[in-house]
Structures are given as C-alpha cells and as structure tokens.
C-alpha cells in the first residue's frame, strides 16, 4: 500500500507548521500544569511566574485530605480494573470467532457506557442506586467505574485474539492439552501484554473519571472530585497545582506503557477512551 520510495519527500512548509502548531496546542496546557506546580506565588495565576519552589510539593504530601483522596482513587481504580479484566477477557473470549444471535447487541452494550454521554450513565446509576436504597459509597463508585472500564480491556484483548492464529489453540489441544491447560500455557502468554495494556488504560480511565463519579460518590472524595471542589471555590491554589500535576502524571504514564506493550501488534491502545 504505502510504499517507501519517497514520493512526497517533503511536506509543504505551511502544512508542517500547522501540524506541529497543532501538536503545540495539544501540549501547551500540559506544560502549564508542570510549570505552575513549582510556582512561588500563593493565590494567583499571574504570568510570568515570580519564581520556583518545591515547597508546595512537600506541603501537598502532608495534607491528609489529599492523601486520603489519592488512596481512595487508587483503591477504586484497582478494584474497577480487576473487575474489568475479568469481565472484558471473558467477553472477548466468548465473542471472537463465534457467531450467534444477539452478538451485535452484546458488543453494543459493552461500548454503550463510553459511547453515551457520561452524565447519562451517572444519573442512571444514581437513580437506580437510590431506588434500590443503596447509599453512595466506595462500592457504588467502583461499580460505576468497572462498568465503563470493561470495554477498554475488551477492545485490547479481542484485538490480540484476532491477531493470534487460532491454529495455536488447535495445536495445543491436538498435542493433548485440554481447555484449561491450553488457556494457561498458550492463550494467557499470548494475551498477557494486551491484558496488561488494557489493565493500565482501565486504571488510568478510572483514576481520572469525574463525570460518572460525581453522581455515585455521595460524600466520598476521589482525587478528581477533590480537584473539582477546589476549582469551584478556589482556596489552596498551590496545593491544587501540585495535585493537578500528580493526576496528570498518573494518567500520562500508562499511555507510554500501553504503547510500548502493544507496539508491533498494531493495537490502537487507546481506542477505548
């Protein structure tokens, strides 16, 4: 298809400017976050900055409310990721290579939580929890998160399944391995990196989620909710800046990891978000 013999050896200059300018636009606000986290000033966003300090980083890690928000978000993301790994892998294993009535409907249902605006998922969960008299808690948040994380794992795993030759599974059975042995010795090693990538992305998705969370959290404060509270009535500007940087880092690292894990297998690692 796309040959390597240099046809269009060089892009027109204006196109190059637009492309790299666009990338600059995409990354500029991220840089701003990293810049302001070290800002000396205590209660304003004035630019140019007056100076840099590491003071706020120390202070942030001494704040119990920040630490408990981080811990809550980590716990929720871990649980949601585990549930998503199990459910997403099962769904992928069931749906690839099998054709049956209702298959399309199931696929659609898996995608729906991220295809529909988050506010719908959020308020739907909220109204259902209320009706069932389930008070908002750690569990209600985790249940909501797991629901939209499934599709991320599912996408990664089914893409890997499709690229794995089915004859590997047949060869294993042919040589005497039953279904469980085949899963352990052949299937699992084949999908391991896809599972890892899917898991990392699901973790990042959950860690950062705010739209559904505000509906299911009640009085629980996850890290994004802590941030939102700060934004609507700004108080601790410097602490907020540092927390913003932490959240940014935690959500950025996974994309590098997922990319290197799925590289060469042509997975569109982030296609789930």
């Amino acid at each position: 298809m796309r040959s390597d013999h240099a046809l269009h050896d060089k892009a027109p200059r204006w196109l190059k400017w637009l492309a790299f300018g666009g990338l600059g636009f995409l990354h500029f606000p991220i840089l701003v976050i990293f810049l302001y986290a070290f800002n000396v000033e205590e209660s304003a966003y004035s630019f140019p900055l007056k100076g840099f300090t590491l003071r706020w980083i120390h202070e942030t890690f001494a704040r119990p409310d920040v630490l408990s928000a981080i811990w809550l978000s980590v716990k929720i993301a871990s649980l949601a990721t585990l549930v998503a790994l199990a459910l997403g892998t099962m769904a992928a294993a069931a749906l690839y290579r099998r054709h049956f009535l209702g298959k399309e409907a199931i696929t659609l249902m898996l995608i729906l939580p991220i295809a529909l605006p988050g506010i719908i998922t959020g308020i739907a969960l909220l109204s259902a929890f209320r009706l069932a008299d389930v008070p908002p808690s750690f569990w209600t948040i985790a249940i909501g998160h797991a629901t939209f994380c499934v599709v991320v794992v599912y996408n990664n795993v089914i893409a890997r399944f499709r690229r794995t030759s089915y004859s590997l599974i047949e060869a294993s059975m042919d040589l005497g391995a039953d279904g469980f042995q085949t899963f352990r010795y052949v299937v699992l090693p084949q999908i391991a990196t896809a599972l890892l990538a899917g898991g990392i992305l699901a973790f990042a998705l959950s860690f950062d989620e705010i739209i559904v969370t505000t509906f299911t959290a009640g009085t629980e404060v996850t890290l994004p909710i802590w941030l939102l509270n700060q934004l609507t009535r700004p108080r601790d500007v410097p602490i907020t800046n540092v927390v913003a940087m932490i959240v940014m880092l935690i959500t950025m690292v996974p994309i590098f990891a997922a990319y290197s894990l799925t590289r060469g297998t042509e997975d569109v690692a982030g296609s789930g978000k």
Binding site: S167, E170, A171, M173, L175, Q190
Partner: protein, 338 residues
C-alpha cells in the same frame, strides 16, 4: 493390517454448505494416504474431522475401530502438522517439541531427553534454545513435525505442510517425509492441492471434488486410469474427449482421456492399429526438457501434446499454422464411465 481411519457416509455442513458430502473411505495402518483436491473440495475439513477440530454432521468416523464422535482432540491418538506450523511463539523450540509431554505430566528430565532426541531426528539438535521466529521456514516445518511426533501418534495428519516452502526445499522435504514415514511405519494422512506432491509420496490418493471423493487409487492407477473427467484433468494434464468429440476422432461414443505424452506428432500415418488425427498446430511452448504443442483437431477440439526435446524435436521444423498429424496407440486411451 488394521484399519486406521474409517469414514462411513460422513458429512459436515456449515450453514447449508456441504463441505464434506457423504464420504466413505478407509485408511490402512502404515499407509501414506493423500487427500488431493482444489481448495474448498473438502479435503481439509476431512482432515479436521479426523483430528477432532470438527464434528461430523452425520455419519460415523472410526479411529482404530473406536467411534470418534464426541472425543475431543486432546484425547485422540492422532497428531497434526499445521499448514502455518502453529509453533508457540512464546516458547523455545525445545519447549515446543516437549509440549505434548508436558501437558501429559511427563517429568522434566524425560521430557527434555525425548524432545532432544526428536530434534536430533529432524536434524535440528543445535536449535533447541532458539525461538521459532529465529528459524527459517524449512526449519520451522521440521520443528512442527518433531512436535507432532513426540506423542508417538498412530496417525499423523499433515495439512499442506510444504505449502509455504520454495520449490527446491519442497522437493527435498518430500523425499524426507516419505523416508520418515517408512521408518516410523505409522499412518500419514497428507492433505495437498499439489498433484505432483501427492503422486510422488503416496501409497494411495483420494481425489476430492466439491465435498465428495471422485476416486481413491494408487498414484499409477489414478494417472493412467482416471475414472472421471475431473480426475483426468486434475491429476496431471489430460486430453478429455466427451462423447461428441470422441465420435469425431475415433468413431465411438464412449468418452475417453489420453495423456499428452502418449500422443506423437508423426510425418505419415503409421501402419499399426494407431488412432490417427489430423489438425492444425496452434501454438508451441518450449519448456526446456519438453515442448508442449497445442493442436486444433476435428471440430476445433483442442489437443495438448507433450514431446521430449532432442535432436529430432518437432519444434525445430514446425511453425504455428502448419498442418500436423497426431497418432496414439489404442491401449493408451482410457475409457471413462461418466
């Protein structure tokens, strides 16, 4: 000798497509048996039915006298060499070969010894620690063979195992496979669409067409006495005369076939009881050791003639457009039933 595999009126239907359509056959122990046919003729499905990857829609399959229906592949005394080799990419060559022993719970030491012995047998003793991706196509093929044989199956299934190799390597592997089969004395069931491959290795060949078997015979019988026009055409090239053109050429209605190399281009009609046909030379293809001639016979019937090239070769003195006389012995013709 015992019967290794027996099909009795076996069909396999996929969404109304009859991939295998009422096949009966029996394959003997120790036989090199080929399933030959074009793609979609049902030969690979038949192989997968024996391996246990597919279940018959109707009919019965017996492996060494035991009904195979419902027996999963991991409980069949049959192993397969896959078309794409299906080597486990995350395991070393040695672990690939030892896999069948590992899942049966054979201890590590024995496993290793046997796997090394198998690798030695396929002349890859030095390659055990490599990953399959570091091997050439021919080497992978041998690993697949060693892996399939380590469980000492009584039947080895081979699904176009040489398809991905280049011509030279393919020919060398044909010789090796045949030698291996003789040495082991087990049944090989070999699926291929390459008639040359099937003819050179097999004890018997089943020719598949549209889910059915056209003929099961030894290579020689298949070549010299094809029962149907399809077999005559698919196994080697052949001049097939239907009843109409048969009447025009020999004056009898019975359809027959004649191999191109059995036809001579002659200067004058021979005195013997040969069939003589006059026609016009259409085209000459020089193929090195032989030349192929396309001749338009009576009613424009196209006849292919193959003759060895030599000092006397016809192509040196004839040009397309020239009138030619063809002759063949009556006993070289094969009358067909269809």
């Amino acid at each position: 000798m015992a019967t290794a595999v027996q099909f009795q009126d076996v069909s396999r239907v996929f969404d109304k497509v009859r991939a295998v359509d009422g096949i009966s056959l029996s394959i003997e122990e120790g036989e090199f048996f080929s399933m030959l046919g074009p793609s979609g003729s049902g030969k690979t499905t038949s192989l997968r039915l024996i391996a246990g990857f597919e279940q018959p829609s109707s009919g019965s399959i017996k492996i060494f006298g035991q009904e195979a229906a419902g027996v999963p592949p991991f409980q069949r005394d049959v192993n397969t060499v896959f078309q794409d080799y299906a080597l486990f990419p995350h395991m070393s060559v040695l672990d690939n070969v030892a896999y069948g022993l590992m899942v049966k719970g054979v201890d590590k030491k024995t496993r290793r010894e046997r796997a090394e012995a198998m690798l030695d047998m396929v002349k890859l003793a030095q390659y055990g620690e490599r990953k399959p991706s570091a091997l050439s196509g021919g080497q992978r093929q041998r690993v697949a063979l060693a892996r399939a044989l380590i469980n000492q199956p009584r039947v080895l299934l081979l699904d176009e195992p040489l398809g991905a190799l280049d011509l030279k390597l393919r020919e060398a592997m044909q010789t090796e496979l045949k030698a291996l089969q003789r040495k082991l004395g087990i049944t090989f069931i070999y699926v291929t669409h390459d008639q040359g491959e099937a003819l050179s290795m097999s004890d018997r060949i089943a020719v598949f067409n549209k889910g059915r078997i056209e003929q099961i015979d030894s290579p020689r019988a298949l070549y010299t006495r094809p029962h149907t026009p399809f077999v005559a055409d698919f196994v080697g090239t052949s001049n097939v005369f239907d009843s109409e053109s048969a009447r025009a050429v020999v004056g009898a209605q019975t359809p027959f076939s004649i191999r191109p190399e059995r036809i001579r281009i002659v200067d004058a009609a021979p005195a013997t009881d040969a069939v003589v046909v006059r026609g016009e030379l259409i085209d000459i293809h020089y193929l090195g050791s032989v030349s192929r001639y396309e001749v338009a016979g009576p009613h424009g019937k196209l006849i292919t003639v193959v003759q060895a090239n030599g000092d006397e070769e016809v192509s040196r003195r004839l040009e397309p457009g020239a009138p030619v006389t063809l002759a063949w012995e009556r006993h070289a013709m094969h009358l067909m039933t269809v």
